[in-house]
Amino acid sequence: MFSRREFLQAAVATSAILGTAGMGSWRALAAGQRLMSEADLLKFPSLGNVSLVHLTDIHAQLKPIYFREPSINVGVGEAKGLPPHVTGADFLKLYNIKPGSPDAYALSSEDYIALASNYGRMGGIDRIATVLNSIRAERGDKVLFLDGGDTWQGSYTSFKTKAADMVEVMNSLKPDAMTSHWEFTYGIDRVKEIVDDLPFAFLGGNIFDSEWEEPAFESTRMFEAGGVKVAVIGQAFPYLPVANPRWMFPKLSFGIREEQVQKNVDAARADGAGLVVLLSHNGFDVDRKMAGRVSGIDVILTGHTHDALPEPVIVGKTLLIASGSHGKFLSRVDLNVQDGAVKGYRYKLIPIFSDVITPHKETGALVDKVRAPYEKDLATVLGKTNSLLYRRGNFNGTFDDLICDALLAEREADISLSPGFRWGTTVLPDQDITVELLHNATSMTYPQAYRSKMTGKLVHDILEDVADNLFNPDPYYQQGGDMVRVGGMGYRIDVGKPIGSRITDMTLLKSGEKVDPEKTYVVAGWASVNEGAEGPPIWDVVSNYLTRKKTISVEPNTSVIVEGV
């Protein structure tokens, strides 16, 4: 069977042993590592009669970007120590990836700064179009192109155009179906307006009318691919009304609805499906649990938790595919389906190295067209960073530290909170922070930076609540996302403890004082899910801070002590 190892061999031989320090790798890189060619990236000995092409969680990134994968991603319960909860050097070891190689750069946080300088940006929808077209040229009617959602939100232009930019560009790529999450944060009216004109299926078998408890969107679309009846069942993010503002889509109910998924799978099989695919925005651990409890799903195309895994995870007879985020990867799964059963498969997580994949001309021109009215804004420089700004990681990221610092300073608060989103691109040291890059980390329809008074107890309750969304040992009680990021305050967290006792030692960093449950503190934050939150948009807060500071440098955050891992 073809493996990722084979295409790695196409890369120029690397020096034997690399240190973990940035400089060590830098020298090794200079010694001769370089990106594989486009032909090598696309090499894939085809198999069987169906090709699934999966793109997910692009978060409106039309242009190539930097995106550092997490260095900490703790798994709990049955997922402890299993992919995707393996990071850094352990990840490289697990998948036998050479440190310092292009794959190490794409898939891990190791030596990120040095490798980013060497291998360049990843993604870009015009590069994705090239890869997609090449698969279509080779496989013709065997191909289904499926979008896992979180497509419409995450950039300045998607915010300004209410997703019109993404819809126009994605339509040009002719997906066969998509599912959703952040799409709904444009409000139900905008979603309906777009979906009514969408030339492909918008699927969500777990989206129900909250009043009548009946399906509100199409659950399943049956396709014919390579002579096989393929049922694609959509699963939207289950906790939209909890994790995002419910008032924006007040008449919809979501949820995991495992029994409903089973019903839809059974109905698809009864309808003659030879292959059943769940196009999911559940998050990886939820999908892994679901694969073990719902029978009859051949492939789950996972999303939401932004994991990129170079090999499928297999549960029973179900393949779980994790295709990363922000356009860094496109997944191709070839399947040999005979007599209603999968007889063989081949998989490749195709890294979209923007420096070697030829941009598709028409798609590139379309991207330039939708961005043209905003180019001047996008390029406006707000400041400069001397240190790496990234977001991913369970507890903190330097981009959120910057946001928290800005909230503390601009809103004169004791404590600041920034939600543990997993979207947002990376900024390299010595890079200018432009409006575009700031919006990549903050763009949303409920950006108000609130300032309110909270008791120490309430702050503790919030931290406990969010920690349980992440570390509840039962994945069905997890919401994805990471821990809320905190400025002005340190704390200790024992991830193995139950809700209510994970968070201790909450300490104000300014004074070293313990946070008093009875005392009231000024707390600044943003992205409240409550209706009527007041304050300037977060990008104005950070923008003002940057304009004042001109150059920033965010030191590694050591104020969260993690235990029980």
Partner: protein, 151 residues
């Protein structure tokens, strides 16, 4: 987006039949007994086996003020073998008793849906009493959160 409200209304005839022949909703048990006490009073101390009852709840409540809860009980619903009552309890509410649904062999099936208010994260329990005096149950944890940051 396809609308199915009218389809549901079209099915109204079937639903009405179920309501007429089916469960009779009785008021919640008056404040006082805990969930354990209410359960004991209902079963007379007999053991309720974890079988036959399927309780369906969201894992995390979207809105704690109105949480959809439904149950169904496996039973032939014949005159000598049917479900007579199903009691719903919310063990973390100030008044744990939610409702008791009565059924007969005329009910056709022992299932019902309702909405309940949950003060905090807690277990929902459905206990079914069968015509032979045996008891079955199912239990689900429903989490009520104060605010999320998913994404």
């Amino acid at each position: 987006m396809h609308m199915t409200r009218r389809q549901a209304l079209g099915l109204g005839a079937g639903a009405a039949a179920l309501i007429v022949a089916g469960p009779v909703l009785t008021p919640a048990i008056a404040a006082g007994p805990t969930a354990d006490e209410a359960l004991k009073a209902f079963t007379g101390g007999a053991e309720a086996k974890a079988a036959k009852v399927t309780l369906s709840t969201p894992e995390i409540a979207e809105n704690g003020n109105t949480v959809p809860v439904s149950f169904s009980v496996e039973s032939p619903m014949t005159s000598d073998n049917h479900v007579t009552e199903v009691m719903l309890l919310a063990d973390g509410n100030p008044r744990p008793g939610v409702a008791t649904f009565r059924f007969s062999d005329m009910s056709g099936e022992a299932s019902a849906s309702t909405r309940i208010r949950l003060a905090k994260t807690q277990n929902i329990v459905a206990v079914a009493k069968m015509s032979d005096g045996s008891f079955y149950m199912d239990k689900k944890l429903v989490k009520v959160t104060i605010g999320g940051c998913g994404g």
